[in-house]
Symmetry: C2
Subunit: 659 residues, 2 copies
């Protein structure tokens, strides 16, 4: 008697991607409701089932849909926004300012829909996501019909969807409660990474995941810097540290795991942690080379992910699988590691296990959900087809086939694409909306990039602050004379400091932008050692405000703030046209002279060799006050033994430029 089913696929090369790597040609698969009820040779299945719909696969490959084990789908709206930048410049200079400005439930929904359209067209049936407003990601994904692990991000900083991490954790809890048990969505929590979370966040997230028995999605050991910082701060490598915190009490999906040693890999394996390997992202951001073949050798469930489209720049798992296979060979200097069948297993069965949903999907087996794709290997770039051994079929999919060869996609027994036509999403409308967003983001960035000042402000985190200064400067030959003159009873010394200063002045094509100075101040103690280091960023106005008698100047700094990033960061972010480097020793006295505070600086240049200068400076707040202080400054500098006729009205940088 024939069993009634919904769909019978016939005349296919069936790659089951199960543990036994069964292949059937001509093979058949029977689907009833959301599940697979039979897989095998066509001859066996034919006649056994009465199908509502029979699909003649015409010799195409029928296989489980691919699993994108790590991504941030809404970031698809930021694809191509900024490339070829170092991670910090890319993240803090572009991604985060744009996300602060634009990320909203609407942005997230549209980004998710755009990503789902691309994922379906490239043969992905399941993905693991991590972003803000994750419930909106889940809604849009469920509507598109894809399966996903959706993880609500938790950060120690304010994020686009939460002021505090407590808010994020509460959002995650609500989301998990509401969505647990959904037929397509597995809700999850995502403490972003050890270096962006506190220990408390990591613990609380793990407890939440355990409480609801849902997976936990995070980034671990992505960069060398993360590993080194962790080692410096805790004395431990990343993996043992988070294990100690109890993170692995949860079912963890860990993205990257690039900088892990053998002991850490063993820990990951023992703890049942699934790893998402992201080869394109790791290369493009120069994060490093993950020890994939070693992890697989140890038996870790390693899946493959694209990471977000903003760092890839697509969601094409065919490219990613191919890269995972060949990169592992290059890195291990062994062309036999991660053969095609292994890479394809990582993108299917092992990926599902890494997401902790191996019981649901990842292979064509009776009882699993009907998540599958048809791949047409007839296009030119796949030809010819060799059949000598079973590996030929995997090699054709991994090394030759393209995502554009995917013709049909079914998830949970429902069609999402038929003959390359999307069934649940409207491409034209999505493209139109995406390009409208791009226009707005372009405008926002063009606006901020109009001036150095607005680029500075866009970095956020630093306070904007203007400063006015009265200053007079003379070239001197003899430092000792000045030091002696400071003993004058009319001068009260409040504070003395000894600095070694390293200045980098950035110049821009448009001189009206002013100059940006990055200064590293090394405070030198009485023994001549560096006691402390601080860095400050100063945007110096293009011209002086006023020139008083006796060559006392009034100047203005338009922006002054602690430098939160490195010199290299600012250089890559601001892209100055040219740079001037100055290194000098500065003896600095804060003095009280006629009831007015002045800084007296004795500067000796190490680089370039400009000699020594005496500078008297005072901050001011009004033009009237400035005038009064200008007179006092001239008087003080004369008292210090300098001749006012030797006054230098040029900045140090101007002196260097003239040289």
């Amino acid at each position: 008697m024939e069993t009634a089913i919904d769909t019978l696929f016939t005349n296919a090369l069936v790659l089951c991607m199960d543990d036994d790597l069964n292949q059937y040609e001509s093979g058949a698969v029977a689907v009833k409701g959301d599940s697979i009820v039979a897989v095998g040779p066509e001859a066996e299945l034919n006649g056994a089932y009465q199908a509502r719909e029979t699909i003649d696969c015409q010799g195409k490959v029928l296989m489980p849909g691919l699993i994108n084990a790590h991504t941030h789908v809404p970031m698809t709206l930021l694809r191509g926004l900024a490339d070829d930048l170092r991670l910090d410049v890319w993240l803090m200079g572009y991604m985060m300012p744009v996300e602060r400005e634009f990320v909203s439930p609407e942005f997230v929904r549209l980004g998710t829909q755009l990503a789902c359209a691309e994922l379906i067209k490239t043969g992905v049936t399941t993905f693991a996501d991590m972003y803000y407003f994750e419930e909106d990601v889940a809604k849009a994904t469920a509507q598109a019909g894809l399966r996903a692990l959706c993880a609500q991000t938790v950060l120690k900083f304010p994020s686009p969807d939460a002021e505090t991490y407590e808010d994020s954790l509460a959002m995650a809890r609500d989301f998990i409660q509401r969505w647990k048990g959904h037929e397509l969505i597995v809700p999850s929590v995502a403490p972003h990474a050890p270096y962006t979370c506190t220990d408390e966040i990591l613990r609380a997230a793990a407890e939440l995941a355990v409480e609801f028995d849902v997976p936990l999605h995070t980034h671990l050991a992505e960069t060398l810097q993360e590993r080194e910082t962790m080692r410096n701060e805790t004395g431990m490598p990343v993996i043992p540290y988070v294990k100690k915190l109890g993170l692995f009490d949860a079912k963890v999906l860990a993205a990257h795991c690039v900088h892990v040693d053998l002991g850490e890999m063993r820990t990951l394996h023992k703890a049942g942690v699934g790893v998402a390997h992201n080869p394109t992202s790791n290369l493009k951001l120069a994060s490093g080379f993950a020890p994939v073949s070693k992890m697989r050798e140890l038996g870790i469930n390693v899946g493959i992910g694209t990471d977000g489209s903003a760092s890839n720049n697509d969601l094409d798992m065919f490219e990613e699988v191919r890269l995972a296979a060949i990169l592992a060979k290059g890195v291990s200097e062994d062309p036999t590691v991660v053969p095609a069948v292994e890479a394809l297993s990582m993108a299917t069965r092992l990926g599902a296990r890494a997401l902790h949903i191996g019981r649901l999907t990842g292979s064509l087996e009776v009882g699993k959900r009907a998540d599958m794709i048809l791949v047409d290997t007839s296009p030119l770039h796949n030809a010819p087809r060799f059949q000598r051994n079973v590996d030929n079929a995997y090699a054709q999919i991994v090394y030759a086939a393209k995502s554009s060869d995917v013709t049909d996609v079914m998830v949970n027994g429902k069609w999402l694409m038929r003959e390359r036509v999307l069934q649940t999403l409207d491409e034209v409308s999505l493209l139109k909306q995406a390009n409208e967003y791009a226009r707005r983001i372009d405008a926002f960035l063009i606006e901020r990039e109009q001036s150095v000042l607005s680029k500075l402000i866009a970095l956020g985190g630093s306070s904007e602050q203007e400063s006015f200064e009265v200053q007079v400067k003379v070239k001197i030959q003899d430092l000792e004379t000045v030091r002696d003159a400071l003993d004058n009873p009319a001068i009260e010394i409040i504070r003395f400091k000894n600095y070694h200063q390293y200045d980098n002045y950035f110049y821009f094509e448009d001189h009206k932008q002013g100059r940006l100075r990055f200064r590293e101040d090394d405070l030198i103690d009485s023994k001549g050692n560096v006691a402390s280091v601080r860095s400050r960023l100063t945007l110096i106005g293009p011209s002086r405000e006023e020139h008083f008698d006796q060559d006392v100047l009034l100047s203005r700094s338009r922006f002054l703030a602690p430098a939160a990033h490195t010199l290299r960061f600012y250089r890559e972010y601001f892209k100055p046209q040219s740079e001037i480097v100055i290194e000098k020793k500065r003896l600095r006295w804060l003095v009280n002279f006629k009831k007015t505070e002045f800084f007296v600086n004795l500067d000796h240049f190490e680089k370039p060799d400009l000699g020594s200068f005496l500078e008297v400076k005072s901050t001011t707040w009004s033009r009237k006050d400035a005038k009064k202080k200008a007179l006092l400054a001239a008087e003080l500098i004369t008292l210090l033994g300098a001749s006012i006729k030797d006054t230098v009205t040029k900045d140090y940088t101007e002196i260097i430029e003239e040289k």
Copy 2:
């Protein structure tokens, strides 16, 4: 007055890829005959020309066609034949045996046509080839309408198209004479690589290239092994060595250049050598990581190539450009190196220069040939499009666009593809013919892989040889007794040798295949040092031929030959089911006993610990002779003090198996 032209492209985002990186949007390009006569803003060109055909590009990207700087197009017929193997196993175990059997002018023509179809569909307008029967490659390419540098291979070994290298050089000369000046084909000579050529070949090829002022195409410094062998044999690195031979007197296109140091890179630059970087091939074959960003920094013209489809497995330059861009970042640990515009320049302008045809093609400039493509960036995976800075356009092409976005291709002013339909080739017919070849190659390999013996023979280079042996063996406790007994005047000692022997026995699932023994014989001199090492391969029959009285055996080795490859090679090539490893010391006397030569072996086992054995052996050629020698062997072994009742009838491997 309007100038009459053939084609005017309008409404495009024109990426000129010239030295100034001009971009025009909306841009236009005017083509007359085979050349570009104008490039610029549409507003400027409109009205200036009277075109036979005006193409509204509808906002697509119009750019120079991509240049595949290194490939072996006929090998497209071998795509997917054998993957995930080490270079030597892949090359000597599969590619070369199949090429010896199948490569012919017909094979080469079909492979070239199949490749051209794929190249055109993926936006390539020029490629650099190296293969056998290169004139047939040139003919098929010219018919397809593509531009190519076609280089006739020269090897020191016999090749599919020539018995000797003199023949190959003569073919190259004829080919160059006939084709020089062709509008599409630049004929060339290809001494394959330093390690596959003699110094004489390299010199002669360079002289030929200089004589006709054509480029020379070769492989240089692809693998670590090549570098190390060169250093051991000549005391020099690869680049200085070939320079000394005069190779760089010619205009050289050098593929790979993976293992080159800074000095070598400087030499390449100074000599004007163009480099073809093949990122996929280098990863897939685990050759290493080419220092691409360093080479570019030095100003070397680095192009990008796919290498042959048998080691890639496609000819997709979009994938290759993207990989070149991201791999360079990973390798140099700097995400800012080889930005998108640099990678795309390598695939266009710089690639053309690497091929020494930069004056002809590689950019959209007035006077250059009209080699160009239209890329539709409207498909989903490209969205959205940012326009904030000029680099956004390059990033979109390099990081997001796919080869399937190429819609139209023109070479030398002629259309090769319109709206994704090939104009000069018939895909359906090519696919049919390619699959027929695949069937024949499959059949050939299936036939040869039926037995270990035929796989051995397929390797070629070794002589097949059968050997019969009479042998008797006893376990002994005391080696000295035997040594003393050899002083017996009835025994004349002809020769004595002291060996340390390392044996690996390969076992196969089908026991009828016999066992394959790889033996390394270390000859030990009188001081106990290793005087020489030789390796031999022996295929041992599955069963004994006969059992004579007194446990003397007649056995047969079905194949005996020097082992040209390493143990590792044979292990990966034969994939044995299991292995037995034996290490023993063998004292071996060749003696004359009653006018018959015997080998007397005193074996002491180091691994596993089996103790010591005395063996008496003699080769034989007939059953009658065997019977006679069996009696003598029993007599001799008794004379040597062993008790014939202690005779062991088992092989050493059988003794080990029982343990």
